[in-house]
Structures are given as structure tokens and as C-alpha cells.
């Protein structure tokens, strides 16, 4: 039984942890694109990558004084630029073109930062490690002793505590911001683009504004993942990243303000819990799954089978997600 209690503790840490915040932000951005405006963006990983490298590269290379705050300013500029570049060729086309171009653009960026040619600036496949050192020194100490533990939920150090508090504050702030923008004509474009156009709305401009705003929020997601985990690795921003954001969105309910938040917390609880329990059941100690079924190396990626199967089943049987509104769920965007 204590196996399960431990795993629940790890699951709760996961639900509130840095990954949950980062994916939540990326999913909020995707909600603006897909949920409110009906843009089929499959390149949220690209926006997150731009955000992450925007905060990490100035620190690593000492650009503009090498401060983390410079990186946040750079993030807004770079993600906007990326959105505009993506939007110009695709926003006038059918939605599946946007999907393919955004997925391709995300992969292009990932290949560019992974190539050893520019290892000096990007760190290539190793990424940029422990770039937060200088910044961490400025975080006030709060935790006495070496870690903070509430029941079985462990927060290892002050910096992680800071990242979690600031991260969720950012989630709250951006959720409210998105909520206040929801009355904009984005949703009329989603419902009927031609009708919106015939009423004199500049559909292209509204789509572009949606792509930019959702992209910036996605960039913040990448930045939080980079800072909170203290490193940037191109492997974190594969197309899988985008698909997980969709899973989170579907789980929490598409086109709902709290959808990404609830979705991300549930998603990361499930992932962390299942990882922990499977690791516990394959460690050769106490209860164990038969080895023909699963061993240590298999347990590490079993989460993806749960995620993929869960995403498919959820869309088929409960497309509005756990708290979604069936009327609002707007999958069909072409």
C-alpha cells in the first residue's frame, strides 16, 4: 500500500510541478489558437522552443548583459516574429495547410538548434544546461533545512518553490487575460469565417492576432520549462510536445478558460503517478509485474501508451473533456 501512497505523492508533485505549469501555458496558447479561433496549430512545440531559447541564449552567451529578464523581453519579440512568419503563407489557406506548415516549421527550428554547427550559441543536442545559476542566487531563502515536505509531496529547494509560485501566478494572469479577450471576434471566425468576413471583419488580421497572442503564451510555456528545469534541451520540443498540449486541452475541455489548467494538472498527475507506480513495480523489490510483460526499460515509456490511447478514447467517447461544454467543443474547423 505504501507503494501506492508514495506514487500518489509523486503524482501530486507532478500535478503542481514545473512541467504541469509549462504545458498548461502552452495549452492556454493553443486554446487561443484552436479553441477560440479554430486555427489548427500543430507547431506549439516550435513556439515553446523559441521561448525557451530566447531566455536561455542571452544568459549563456552574455548577450545584452546576459540577464534572464532580457530573455523575457526577447521572448515576446521572437515568438511574435515566428507567428508572423508562419501566418503570412498559411492563414489564408485551409486549416490543414496551417497544421502541416506549423508542424514543419517547428521541426525546422528543432533541427537548427540541434545542429553541431552552432554549438557555441545553442549547445547543439546537449542544449543549454544550468544557465540559471546567477539568477538563483538572487532568490530569497525560505525553506529551512534542505527541502520542504508536506505529507509525501517534496519540494527540493527554494528555486523550485519560487518557480512553482511564480509559474502558477503567470498561469492565473494569462488565463484572466485570455478570458478578457474571449469576446473578441475570434470565435465568430471559428464558427463561420465567411459570415465574419461578410460582416466586415478583417478575418486575416484577427487570425494573425490570435496566432501571435497564443504563440507568445506558448513561448512563456517553453521559458518556464527551461527555467524551472534549469536546462534547455532540443529533445523536449519534438512534435510530441504539441500533441501532449492537444491531449491536455481535450482532457480539460476545449475553449474553456480553466480547461488547460485542469487538463494539465490531471494529465501530469496521471503521468507522474503511472511512472512512479510502474517504476516501483519493476524494481525487483516487493510486488513486481512479470518481466515478460514489463521491465525497467519498458516502464519508462509506458506513459506514452496511456497518453496516446487515452487521447484517442477521450476524443471518441467524451470529446468535450471532463468539464467541457458540448456546445463549445469545436473540433471541426475547416
Amino acid at each position: 500500500m505504501s507503494d501506492i501512497a508514495d506514487a500518489i505523492g509523486i503524482g501530486i508533485s507532478g500535478a503542481f510541478g514545473v512541467s504541469a505549469i509549462a504545458y498548461c501555458l502552452a495549452a492556454i496558447g493553443l486554446n487561443v489558437h484552436f479553441g477560440y479561433t479554430g486555427l489548427l496549430n500543430f507547431g506549439q512545440a516550435g513556439f515553446a522552443l523559441v521561448g525557451a531559447y530566447s531566455v536561455a541564449m542571452p544568459v549563456r552567451n552574455g548577450w545584452f548583459g546576459g540577464s534572464l529578464w532580457v530573455g523575457f523581453a526577447a521572448l515576446v519579440v521572437t515568438t511574435t516574429l515566428f507567428a508572423v512568419l508562419l501566418g503570412i503563407p498559411t492563414l489564408r489557406l485551409r486549416s490543414d495547410y496551417l497544421a502541416i506548415v506549423t508542424i514543419a516549421a517547428g521541426e525546422i527550428l528543432r533541427l537548427l538548434v540541434s545542429t553541431p554547427k552552432w554549438v557555441g550559441a545553442t549547445g547543439a543536442t546537449d542544449g543549454i544546461n544550468s544557465f540559471t545559476g546567477d539568477f538563483e542566487a538572487t532568490i530569497p531563502g525560505f525553506i529551512k533545512g534542505e527541502k520542504l515536505q508536506i505529507w509525501k509531496v517534496v519540494i527540493p529547494d527554494d528555486f523550485t518553490l519560487w518557480a512553482i509560485i511564480v509559474g502558477w501566478a503567470l498561469v492565473a494572469l494569462l488565463s484572466v487575460a485570455v478570458w478578457s479577450l474571449m469576446r473578441s471576434p475570434w470565435r465568430s471566425i471559428r464558427e463561420d469565417e465567411d459570415a465574419a468576413r461578410s460582416l466586415g471583419k478583417n478575418v486575416f488580421a484577427y487570425k494573425m492576432s490570435s496566432l501571435i497572442i497564443g504563440g507568445i503564451i506558448g513561448g512563456f510555456g517553453g521559458a518556464v520549462l527551461a527555467i524551472g528545469s534549469r536546462n534547455v534541451n532540443p529533445g523536449s520540443y519534438q512534435t510530441q510536445f504539441t500533441f501532449l498540449c492537444y491531449a491536455i486541452l481535450v482532457l480539460g475541455g476545449i475553449a474553456r478558460v480553466k480547461g488547460p489548467v485542469v487538463g494539465s494538472m490531471i494529465f501530469w498527475f496521471i503521468i507522474s503517478f503511472s511512472d512512479a507506480i510502474l517504476a516501483e513495480w519493476t524494481d525487483g523489490d516487493g510486488f513486481n509485474l512479470p518481466t515478460w510483460l514489463m521491465d525497467k526499460s519498458n516502464a519508462a515509456f509506458f506513459r506514452w501508451i496511456i497518453v496516446g490511447g487515452g487521447l484517442a478514447l477521450l476524443v471518441i467517447f467524451r470529446p468535450q473533456g471532463i468539464f467541457g461544454d458540448r456546445k463549445e467543443q469545436s473540433f471541426d474547423v475547416r
Binding site: L40, I88, P89, T90, R92, L93, R94, S95, D96, Y97, A99, I100, V101, I103, A104, A105, E107, I108, L111, L112, S114, T115, P116, K117, T239, Q240, F243, Y246, A247, V250, M294, S297, N298, F301, F302, W304, I305, V307, G308, G309, G310, L311, A312, L313, L314, V315, I316, P319, F331, D332, V333, R334
Partner: protein, 434 residues
């Protein structure tokens, strides 16, 4: 000599100075391949550069193959020999012609260069071009058999099927597994190996068809029946793709595997005057099979009743069902055909390169690029698009030989550019797509 003497004097006089001049010894020698005595090499020019890249000294080796130069301080210096001054028949790999030495105060530093027999002259870019084009066409044909299926599925159902990559992987992985089970041994070669792989490939392709057709029967057809939209179906296909990919990894393992029995083959050389290239029998056979499969699909689409029906359904499903075409049967046929082609593509790609649990996923984006380039939903567009993608990838690797890890970018960027200027794709119908 005067300068060196002066240098020594200065060094002696300014013994307490912060940056003290040090001696660096450069030695160039030839180590014969037969293991004979080392021979000094005279008359080799070299330059010494400091950490900032500025030249601080240069020299020529003497009869003993040795040159001593002064560097302004201790620290790290880079010695680069001028390979054009090496005697005929001797050479050194590019990455060894330059080395960084640590010069320590008082002891100086040593840089030794060991030459060997000159390697074969690197073929020029122009000489490599025919090979790059052949590789591009071969790769294009492989992408084409996979993406024709993807395009037919898109054409008849409107679904961008993200699980198509896993159909490819499944065909390749099952073929490898069956070949491994029935193998007499990995040393089987020639005709025996061919029979073996054909038998295994038949089973592997059947598995891919079963996967593709099974999804149609148990997922896509019921979803269409419930009136669930295409975007939902696309996201379901992503979920299925992720789950299937990791189930394959779970059962098959993460290690890439290759067909050793076709591993090392002699090139068959083709010589058309100035254009010369070599292809292994394996690559020639797989390209031939891919071409035959594509011609078969073209024949099926253009000349048979089923093909006509497929084109009719792709054009307008409602209209074609009122004319008596059994739309569901045609769609099922397309899924089976798409599965078979994807499986065959997987087998061929596995033979050409390696069989790995994520091979299909890595190819999926190129397939999408191909069908978008050619015009979404047009099977012949998929063929043209695939050849463009294959050539772009291989020509990128040929032209930017320092950036081969980025070769997929060429194809993806080409797709984005084509969309900018010709959004309907190369062969697409001009219609309103906005």
C-alpha cells in the same frame, strides 16, 4: 638568426616579465605503413597562431624535420602545417593538420605531426552529383509509395492520417521479425536470402494491411457513422499513432536492426560517358520494386473499375454513392491498399537503411510535405511531390555537406515556399482553398 638571437637576449634580459618568450618545437615525420623507421620530412611550412587566432610565428622544417620557433608567452598555441608543401605521396587527415599545443614556461612545447601515405583524393562535388541524384530518386520513390497511400486516404475520406507512419513502421518491424524467425541463418545469401525476405515481407505487408484495415473497420467507419468531424478524427489518429509507436517499441525494442545478409554488396557501376555512378544490387532491386508498385497503382487508378470508383469517391462521395458505388467498400479498399503500400515502403526503407521503432514517424513529416507539395488528395501529385522531396533532401546533403544533419530542412522549406506561391500544390486543382 639575428632576430632569434635578439629574442633570446630579450628573453634572458626580461626574465621577470609577465609574458616570457618560449620555445616551441615543431617536428614533422613520416611513419611508413610497413612499419619501417620514422623518416624526417623537410621543407614543410607551418604557422603558429595564438588563442585569439592571430599569427605569432611561422617556419619551415629543416633536414631533420624539425623547426624551433619562439612564441611570445606560455599558454595554448595552434600549429597548422601547410599541406600543399608536403612531399608528393605523403598526406595527413585534415583534422590532424592543425593541432593545439600547451606551451609551458621554461619547458617550451612540442608539436609532432605524423604523416602517412596520402589518402585517395576526395571526389569533387561535380563527381558526386550523379550519385546524389540517384539517391534522391531512390529516396523519392520510397517516400512516394508511402505517401500515395496517405494521399488516397486523404482524397477519399478527407482525413490526414497521422497513424500512417506507424503503418510503415509496423510493416518493416513485422518483416524483420518474421525474417528473423524463419531465417536459416543470417549468412544465407543470394537467391536463398531473396526468397526468405520475400516471404517475410509478404507477412509484414499483410500485418500493415491488417492494422490499416482494422482501424477503418473499428475506428474510422464507426466515427463517420456517428458524424464525428474530421479534425476530431485527425486528433484520434495522433493518439493512435503515439500509442502504436510505443507499443511497437515495447515489443520490438529500441535498438535499430538491419539486414546483415544484404549489408555488404559490390556496386554495379554505370558509365554514361561523363556521368558515372555505382549502385548496389540491393538498392537497384528495391528501387525497381518501388517503381513497379507505383506503376501498378497508376494502372489500378486509371484503367480498372475499382480505380475509377476510387477517383469518383475522391471527387464527390455523395454523388458517387447515388450512382451505385458502395462508398464504404471503396474506402475500405483504399485503407487496405494504403496499408499495403505503407508496409512495402517500410520494408524497402528498412532494407535500404535500418529497421527502428520510430522510422515511420521520422518519415511522416516528409510524406506530408510530399503530398502538400504535389497537391493534397491527388495521388499523382503525391508521386511528383515525393520525387521533389527525395531530391531536395539528397541534394541538400550533397551541396551542404557540412550540414547533412539538416537535410530534411530543404524539403520542409521547399514545401512552405511552394505554398506561398502555389497554394494548391504542383498538380493541385486551382480551386478556392481559403
Amino acid at each position: 638568426v639575428l632576430l632569434v638571437a635578439l629574442g633570446v637576449l630579450v628573453a634572458a634580459g626580461a626574465g621577470t616579465a609577465h609574458a616570457e618568450e618560449q620555445e616551441l618545437t615543431v617536428r614533422v615525420q613520416n611513419i611508413p605503413e610497413d612499419g619501417g623507421k620514422k623518416q624526417p620530412v623537410a621543407g614543410v611550412d607551418f604557422v603558429v597562431t595564438g588563442p585569439d587566432g592571430a599569427e605569432v610565428a611561422s617556419g619551415v622544417t629543416d633536414d631533420k624535420g624539425v623547426a624551433k620557433v619562439k612564441v611570445p608567452s606560455d599558454g595554448e598555441f595552434t600549429v597548422t602545417i601547410d599541406t600543399s608543401t608536403l612531399p608528393e605521396g605523403l598526406g595527413i587527415p585534415d583534422d590532424e593538420a592543425s593541432r593545439t599545443v600547451n606551451v609551458t614556461a621554461g619547458l617550451g612545447g612540442n608539436a609532432n605531426f605524423n604523416l602517412g601515405a596520402a589518402g585517395p583524393v576526395e571526389p569533387s562535388k561535380a563527381e558526386l552529383l550523379p550519385k546524389a541524384i540517384v539517391n534522391g530518386v531512390r529516396f523519392g520513390l520510397v517516400i512516394a509509395i508511402m505517401s500515395v497511400g496517405l494521399s488516397l486516404i486523404y482524397g477519399t475520406t478527407g482525413l490526414s492520417n497521422f497513424a500512417h507512419g506507424e503503418t510503415v513502421t509496423l510493416g518493416a518491424v513485422m518483416t524483420w521479425t518474421f525474417a528473423d524467425w524463419i531465417k536459416v541463418s543470417n549468412s544465407t545469401t543470394g537467391f536463398g536470402a531473396l526468397v526468405q525476405i520475400s516471404f517475410a515481407a509478404t507477412l509484414g505487408i499483410a500485418a500493415a494491411m491488417l492494422f490499416s484495415g482494422g482501424l477503418e473497420k473499428f475506428v474510422w467507419k464507426p466515427m463517420r457513422g456517428k458524424g464525428i468531424g474530421l479534425t476530431s478524427m485527425m486528433i484520434v489518429s495522433i493518439g493512435i499513432a503515439i500509442a502504436a509507436r510505443f507499443i511497437i517499441q515495447w515489443r520490438y525494442g529500441a535498438q535499430p536492426k538491419s539486414y546483415a545478409q544484404f549489408g555488404s554488396q559490390e556496386n554495379i557501376n554505370f558509365d554514361f560517358g561523363p556521368i558515372e555512378f555505382g549502385v548496389t544490387p540491393r538498392d537497384l532491386t528495391t528501387a525497381g520494386i518501388a517503381l513497379a508498385a507505383l506503376l501498378g497503382v497508376a494502372f489500378l487508378l486509371m484503367r480498372t473499375r475499382t480505380g475509377k470508383a476510387i477517383r469518383a469517391v475522391a471527387d464527390n462521395p455523395d454523388l458517387s454513392s447515388t450512382t451505385g458505388i458502395n462508398t464504404d467498400r471503396i474506402i475500405m479498399f483504399v485503407w487496405l491498399l494504403g496499408g499495403a503500400l505503407a508496409g512495402l515502403g517500410g520494408v524497402i526503407f528498412g532494407l535500404d537503411e535500418q529497421v527502428q521503432w520510430n522510422m515511420g514517424t521520422r518519415l511522416l513529416l516528409l510524406m506530408f510535405a510530399a503530398i502538400t507539395l504535389g497537391g493534397l488528395g491527388r495521388p499523382f501529385g503525391a508521386l511528383v511531390g515525393s520525387l521533389v522531396v527525395g531530391l531536395f533532401v539528397q541534394l541538400w546533403a550533397w551541396w551542404f555537406s557540412d550540414f547533412t544533419d539538416l537535410k530534411n530542412i530543404g524539403a520542409l522549406a521547399a514545401m512552405i515556399l511552394v505554398l506561398l506561391f502555389r497554394p494548391q500544390g504542383i498538380l493541385g486543382k486551382k480551386e478556392r482553398i481559403g
